[in-house]
């Protein structure tokens, strides 16, 4: 529907323009966000795990950012080549002054995106409708920009394909036969295999290594009543029971559901068990970045910058977090509670299919919030409507940090994490966010936004 309206608008524009001189093609923040929304839709359709989703968001952003800021007239932003691991200077010669860098950036974005998803044809379908219209508006500008954008995307894809993602597809699955009591076990109801056990083998963007921000160890596993671990376990049990007594309308349940972001939720209906599709934690923070860009009425360059930086922080946060998850390989509270405490117990949220420590949402949200605060400032009040399409209400936050803290604690309320995973996860995420802020130079020194 929306597309049709754009088409009609562009078509009318073209009619008006045809007799006159050719109009430049306009690509602004809303166009960029529209493309991001398409990518999110395709990711939900294809069902990607949270770590894989973080990778799918980041590379198209980098391609768009590099295209946009390779404009010799750009004096605001630094290229990320030489700043991100193994990302070497691109060989770019714009073949015409007619290149529209905004347009080329969007073209590069879509071209990289289609490589990353399974249902690439959904992106191609969207791209083709845009191409048709751009061609009508200004064929030569479009052609030059397309060639340029695709040249950037080709080089970004080359670099992307060397990040060990392909290799990790063939690597070992998690071994469910590991009988160590503290070892993670698949959880109800679908008993899925552990997701992405080799994600720490991926090339990070800014980190020295996946283990650079290795958190301190979780409390030592023990089922002795006086142990710290057991205390944390029993507090998950008690806390969830307490929240349940308050009923579905309680603030804790509202918070837990709002931040669920689990694309693997299995729903049981009669004969059927199927995944209830949702966005990932990364996608939620991409949504928050969108909100911030809209609220500040950021121009395309700032929009792309904000998304690129945020998605880099999120991607590195996942690499760091998953490194710890399969290092500590800790069993989920649900497994222990059902086995030792209460066979009928279920958490409020469905336990996601990977080890417990540290909490992915805590790490990722904290890292994203650090970066967003750096870009948009502290005390940034916003209404978060990211989950509206998934049947959840709007929540208001006073700052990015406020949102991140709530995301972190939501995992406790949901009954899927121990306290340490949330606490240490936040520390880990903040450290990564700060590292990204310090490590990457986006804005050139003489420029202030």
């Amino acid at each position: 529907m929306k597309l049709h309206r754009i088409t009609y608008f562009l078509f009318t524009l073209c009619l008006l323009a045809c007799n006159k001189e050719k109009q430049p093609i306009s690509v602004e923040r809303s166009d960029y966000h529209a493309a991001m929304d398409v990518l999110t839709e395709v990711m939900i359709h294809d069902i990607f795990s949270p770590p894989v989703a973080s990778r799918i968001y980041v590379y198209p952003n980098i391609a768009a950012y590099e295209t946009l800021n390779s404009n010799p007239k750009n004096s605001t932003y630094h290229s990320l080549t030489g700043q991100l691991t193994n990302f070497e200077a691109l060989h770019l010669v714009p073949n015409s002054s007619e290149v529209n860098y905004n347009l080329a950036a969007l073209i590069a974005y879509l071209d990289v995106a289609k490589e990353l998803v399974f249902s690439g044809e959904m992106i191609l379908h969207y791209r083709d409708s845009l191409y048709t219209n751009w061609e009508k508006i200004n064929k030569s500008e479009f052609e030059y920009s397309k060639d340029y954008g695709l040249e950037v995307s080709k080089q970004v894809i080359d670099w992307m394909q060397k990040d060990a993602y392909a290799e990790t597809r063939t690597m070992q699955d998690y071994n469910i036969f590991n009988n160590t009591p503290s070892a993670w076990k698949p959880t109800p109801p679908a008993y899925m295999k552990g997701i992405e056990p080799n994600w720490n083998k991926l090339r990070p963007f800014t980190l020295d290594s996946a283990s650079q921000f290795q958190p301190q160890a979780h409390p030592e596993f023990s089922m002795k009543l006086e142990s710290l671990f057991y205390k944390e376990l029993i507090s998950v049990y008690n806390e969830v029971n307490r929240i349940r007594e308050h009923g579905n309308e309680s603030e804790e349940i509202a918070i837990a559901r709002f931040w669920d972001c689990n694309p693997f939720v299995s729903v049981n209906k009669g004969h059927f068990m199927f995944a209830e599709k949702k966005i990932t934690p990364g996608a939620h923070w991409v949504g928050i970045c969108k909100i911030a860009a809209n609220l500040t009425e950021a121009d395309l360059r700032k929009t792309v910058f904000a998304h690129t930086k945020t998605s880099i922080a999120i991607a590195d946060a996942f690499i760091s977090c998953w490194d710890e998850k399969y290092r500590s390989n800790l069993v989920r509270p649900e497994t222990l509670i059902v086995e030792f405490i209460d066979p009928d117990w279920t958490p409020i949220l469905q336990t996601p299919p990977f080890p417990e420590y540290t909490s992915g949402h805590s790490v990722v949200s904290s890292a994203a919030a650090e970066v967003l605060t750096d870009i948009f400032g502290d005390k940034f009040t916003f209404l978060d409507n990211t989950e509206l399409p998934y049947g959840l209400p709007v929540r208001e936050f006073e700052s990015f940090e406020h949102a991140a803290s709530e995301a972190a604690i939501s995992r406790m309320y949901g009954g899927i994490h121990y306290q340490s995973a949330v606490y240490e996860g936040k520390i880990q995420g903040v450290a990564i966010g700060k590292w990204v802020n310090n490590q990457l130079e986006f804005i050139k020194k003489n420029n202030h936004l």
Partner: protein
């Protein structure tokens, strides 16, 4: 095409007029009659709405039953059809396939909201058949109870369930009437079913906690009133019992009737042995190794004529390639199965199971061998002799209105369910119900010959897809052959006339017993003819939701019956000599006082083996998971142990035993004094406990007169522990050596010592089986030449690149020097003639690539020459279902990411398809997800379309041409023909064959089974141990005192002791079993 030919032939035979040709109707043995002819217009019409569909009730498409019996005493069987939610119908048989609808007058249309199974039974023993209809009550808004229609004898019935205590309010599927306590009257077992709840996935022990509505019930008839005795009789009634059918039979021939209950989903089936004291003992695990997962209908009959009733349970494995890849199958169950095992459930597999009864002690499953495992969504199974040739045939009703396990439907649902509340979601789901693919499937029929079943679908019965649920066989026109009736879902019920005109003799039995059980429910009859003894037991509720007449039908082919023996429900026997044939014999009970006893005398004298505890040892595998390392491999390569070596270490005249352990446990050495074994602790073994010991051999390496030890290693999490090891014996203490043997990091299967170069010291064949982490990479096996000084080097003139499983040095050409025979997987057996250390390969027949596991040298065909006996995977594996040509394995880096994969392809009707599903392939190769967006687009695609032609052309290909175990016949030193062994030897992979001398005759012991397979296969464990004298004389080892071998047997080893012999049965991940014999 085939129909036309058949029709033509038939017409010529009977000299038909051209009028008949005009009909152009295909000829079937069971020919469906039209409503216009029969007057049977019953339809089980089921309507759906938001509150009533498969979304709210999992068994909404299970259909309803049919019952047959002579309601009005005119000698003709009448028909009763159950409607799930509509009106039941009763049709009176007016002869010549004409029926009259008497439902209105009879008042049997039913008052319950949802009706299911039906049994005709003379409940008040007034000589008039009554009707008991089961109902689901208390679920959704379903009201009512099981109803009992008492036959008033005037064409009307009166619902009287309450008066009999039978007004059960539960989720009932079917009632089974029988006299379990032998007090003379009929009791009843009622199968109720569970529904999904939060708790139904809990521990298996939930079955012990009785839950109303859901738990099965045993009701005892106390002077005409039925009392619930489930608890005291030890009947499970838990929240997890998804009972869909039961089968009654005296399975162990002890004269008391037992119960097999088919449970859907994860709950195990139940096998209740009658304790003869009013209680039962559930004994599934003791008697069954392999059971169906989604058990639906079932039936029992003695199909092989051994006097014991065999059992079939049905499941839902499709045969069609498209369906195999577009619906969820066992491959998705890996983690779930591991979880369920922890919860106490048995491993179950989604396929039909044909359980052959072995003397009432245990069952061996052989549906894969019979190729009756994959009949799709199957409900009723009925064994009956449809062509009167004295062999049981098999009918299976089929079809599901919509397939809820469609993978794309699941994905479709996922895409659209988000953002909706529970109520909205359910509503939406209901509105999308049409997106579920329909599942009409042809009913199947198989012709039996007491050994095998032959698919006659499309020949004996139409192969038109249908939705048939309840079914009965019955001779409707009293012409001596069995007709067939099915209750169809949303379609008119089917009546199939048995059109055989030249079929053999038959004998129908109508038995009249005491006034408390007039129809002799539970009686057995044995018909003795020259070729075969047939046994049948009279129970009416059979198949699925349905009940047959209280009569027994025997086909006799061209033979006559010498005699007939009736075993009445009180176990008195009555013999009729030369019974009249081709009629219904009515036999009245006469007390003879002669009790029937199934004798075990023969067996007692045969108990050669006595169980002992010579060595207390248990092999325990480590947690290495091959399928996590390489997701597409068909079976593990890490569970080849335990290793076994024997040799007289202490030189006391008795051989000692070394057992090599799995990773994490030290090898164990047991010294033999001649009367007992004592463990000898060896420090180096403890030090090397990280190694997985796959093969071991005692061999005097340093020529000092004592035996040293070579231990070969298997798969290991840590690559440091892949190397083979050599230990030198210093006065009984073993010391590890360094650098005396060449490095060997392959997974080794076999070590065979022999002085093949005849220089006075033992050399060693090292058989390598696999390369860890790269299943498709073939390792190299070699011979180590012993230099006589304790050092070895590889024979440069011999190397064998193959997956070696076993080898033996045997003298093939009688020149006094042993030659080398090697078995391999994905390759052929190799025979090498030894000419003074020069090994030359001998020709053997083409097309002998197999999954060979082991070999022996033995004169099987008693022609005076020893043959090469070869153990293969056998014919009772899932490979056998799609084996229209060689099985292929491609090996290549299909997704170009630097790691090689293997992909198996099987041949179905001449085309090659990938064995694995899209999700499995995509789990190893990301590119598959991009190539095929949904399951339907990959379903039915050839392997070359899935992997691309270019990729396949680049790949290395391995083949398996033969799965049968058999022998290479020795024809004066040439081995030019391969002869498969009997069916008994094909029931599972054969892992070990060893020679044993019993009663001064050399015989062969066979052990096998496999727990190595991935979830596509499941476990193969039907080879319970065999003893072979020759190709015509062989028997189960259990006949000689051995317990059936359910385990993955690795070694059968005879150890001579001072006064007796010990047989060691060493298996993977199991306790060692020992038996003594003289």
């Amino acid at each position: 095409m085939r129909f036309i030919n058949t029709t033509f032939a038939f017409l010529i035979l009977i000299g038909c007029t051209p009028d008949a040709i005009k009909k152009e109707k295909p000829y079937f043995l069971l020919n469906e009659l039209q409503t216009e002819q029969t007057g049977i217009d019953f339809q089980n019409l089921v309507f759906e709405d938001e509150e009533h569909s498969i979304i709210n009730y999992i068994y909404y498409y299970n259909g309803a039953g049919v019952a047959t019996g002579d309601i009005n005493g005119d000698g003709l069987p009448d028909l009763f059809f159950v409607a799930n939610s509509g009106e039941n119908k009763l049709y009176v048989n007016e002869g010549n396939f004409k029926f009259k609808d008497v439902s209105e007058q009879a008042q049997i249309t039913g008052n319950s909201s949802w009706q299911t199974g039906v049994s005709m039974v003379d409940i008040n023993q007034d000589g008039l058949l009554d009707i008991y209809v089961c109902a689901v009550s208390g679920l959704l808004d379903f009201k009512g109870h099981n109803e009992l229609y008492i036959n008033n004898g005037d064409g009307t019935f009166t619902e009287s369930a309450k008066a009999y205590g039978l007004a059960i309010e539960a989720y009932s599927t079917q009632a089974y009437f029988f006299d379990y306590d032998k007090d003379g009257d009929l009791d009843v077992y009622i199968v109720n079913h569970a529904v999904h709840t939060n708790l139904s996935h809990g521990k298996a022990s939930l079955r012990e906690k009785r839950v109303d509505f859901v738990g099965d019930m045993l009701l005892r008839n106390d002077d005409g009133y039925f009392n619930d005795v489930s608890e005291e009789a030890n009947i499970y009634g838990g929240i997890n019992g998804y009972g869909l059918s039961a089968t009654l039979a005296d399975f162990n021939n002890d004269g008391w009737d037992d119960i097999y209950v088919c449970n859907d989903f994860h709950e195990d089936d139940y096998y209740y042995i009658n304790n003869q004291d009013g209680t039962f003992t559930e004994s599934l695990n003791e008697s069954f190794s392999t059971i169906s997962r989604f058990s639906m209908g079932s039936d029992a009959a003695d199909i092989n004529g051994d006097g014991f009733q065999d059992l079939i349970s049905l499941d839902m494995l499709p045969e069609e390639e498209y369906l195999l890849k577009s619906t969820e199958g066992d491959d998705a169950m890996f983690n779930m199965q591991a979880h369920l095992k922890k919860m106490g459930y048995k491993d179950q597999y989604s396929r039909n199971m044909l359980q052959i009864n072995r003397n009432g002690e245990f069952f061996t499953e052989e549906a894969l061998l019979q190729e009756i495992a994959d009949t799709d969504w199957s409900w009723a199974a009925l064994f009956a002799d449809f062509n009167n040739d004295m062999h049981q045939d098999l009918f299976i009703s089929n079809g599901i209105y919509r397939r809820p396990n469609s993978l794309d439907f699941k994905k479709y649902v996922s895409s659209a369910f988000r953002g909706k509340s529970e109520a909205e979601g359910l509503k939406w789901l209901y509105n999308s119900i049409d997106k579920m693919p329909s599942g009409n499937v042809a009913n199947k029929i198989y012709k039996g010959n007491s050994v095998n079943f032959l698919d006659k679908t499309g020949n004996w019965i139409s192969n038109q897809p249908k939705l048939s649920n309840g079914a009965v066989y019955v001779d409707l026109d009293l012409d001596g052959d069995l007709d067939l009736v099915t209750n169809n879902f949303n379609e008119t019920a089917s009546v199939y006339e048995n059109t055989s005109t030249e079929s053999g003799n038959y004998l129908d039995l109508k038995l009249n017993y005491l006034s408390s059980n007039r129809n002799a429910i539970g009686a057995k009859a044995m018909v003795y003819s020259q070729e075969k003894t047939q046994l049948k037991q009279l129970f009416t509720a059979r198949g699925f939701l349905s009940s047959v007449e209280a009569k027994l039908h025997f086909g006799l082919g061209n033979t006559t019956a010498d005699s007939l023996q009736i075993i009445w429900p009180n176990n008195e026997r009555q013999v009729v000599l030369n019974p009249e044939l081709n009629t219904t014999l009515e036999i009245d009970y006469k007390s003879t006082g002669e009790m029937y006893a199934s004798t075990d005398e023969k067996r007692d004298t045969n108990l050669i083996f006595k169980e002992t505890n010579a060595i207390a040892y248990t092999h325990q595998e480590d947690d290495y998971n091959d399928f996590a390392e390489e997701k597409l491999i068909p079976y593990k390569v890490s569970t080849l142990g335990p290793a076994l070596a024997i040799g007289d270490i202490t030189a006391n005249g008795f051989v000692d035993v070394l057992i090599g352990n799995a990773a994490g446990k030290p090898a164990e050495l047991y010294l033999n004094s001649g009367t007992k074994f004592t463990k000898s602790n060896q420090y180096v073994f403890t030090e090397d406990s990280h190694f997985e010991d796959n093969a071991a051999v005692f061999i005097d390496i340093d020529q000092d007169g004592d035996l040293d030890l070579y231990l070969a290693s298997g798969a290991n999490k840590n690559a440091r522990y892949l190397a083979d090891r050599l230990y030198i014996n210093h006065q009984g203490v073993f010391d590890k050596t360094e650098n005396l043997i060449p490095e060997n990091s392959a997974i080794t299967s076999s070590l065979i010592a022999y002085d093949y170069d005849q220089d006075g010291d033992d050399d060693l064949f090292v058989g390598n089986y696999a390369t860890q982490g790269n299943f498709g990479e073939t390792p190299i096996s070699y011979i180590l030449i012993n230099h006589g000084d304790g050092s070895f080097s590889k024979d440069p003139n011999f190397k064998l690149q193959s997956r070696v499983t076993d080898a033996k040095w045997i003298d093939l050409n009688s020149d006094g020097i042993k030659d080398l025979v090697v078995t391999t997987e994905w390759d052929r057996p190799y025979l090498f003639l030894n000419n003074q250390g020069q090994l030359t390969a001998v020709e053997i027949p083409e097309q002998l690539n197999g999954l060979w596991q082991t070999l022996a040298f033995f004169d099987v065909d008693t022609d005076g020459q020893k043959d090469i006996v070869l153990g293969n995977y056998g014919l009772n594996t899932k490979f056998n279902l799609n084996f229209d040509d060689s099985l292929l394995m491609y090996h290549s880096d299909f997704d170009n990411n630097g790691v090689e994969e293997t992909v198996l392809a099987y041949n179905h009707n001449g085309s090659y398809y990938p064995l694995n599903t899209k999700d499995e392939l995509a789990g190893q190769m990301n590119v598959i997800s991009k190539r095929f967006k949904d399951h339907n687009s990959m379903a039915g695609q050839l392997v070359e379309d899935v992997l691309t032609k270019e990729a396949i052309q680049k790949a290395k290909v391995y083949r398996v041409d033969v799965l049968a175990s058999g022998y290479l016949k020795n024809n004066n030193g040439t081995f030019s023909s391969f002869i498969p062994l009997d069916k008994e030897f094909q029931l599972a992979p054969i892992n070990t064959i060893s020679e044993i001398k019993l009663n001064s005759t050399n015989q062969l012991l066979f052990g096998g089974n496999s727990y190595k397979m991935n979830t596509y296969h499941g476990a193969y464990n039907s080879l319970k141990g065999l003893l072979l004298k020759n190709d015509k004389e062989f028997d189960l080892l259990s006949e000689f005192g051995l317990k059936p071998l359910h385990e993955q047997v690795k070694h059968l080893q005879v150890i001579p002791m001072k006064n007796e012999n010990i047989l060691l049965i060493l298996s993977n991940n199991q306790a060692l079993k020992t038996y003594s014999f003289k």
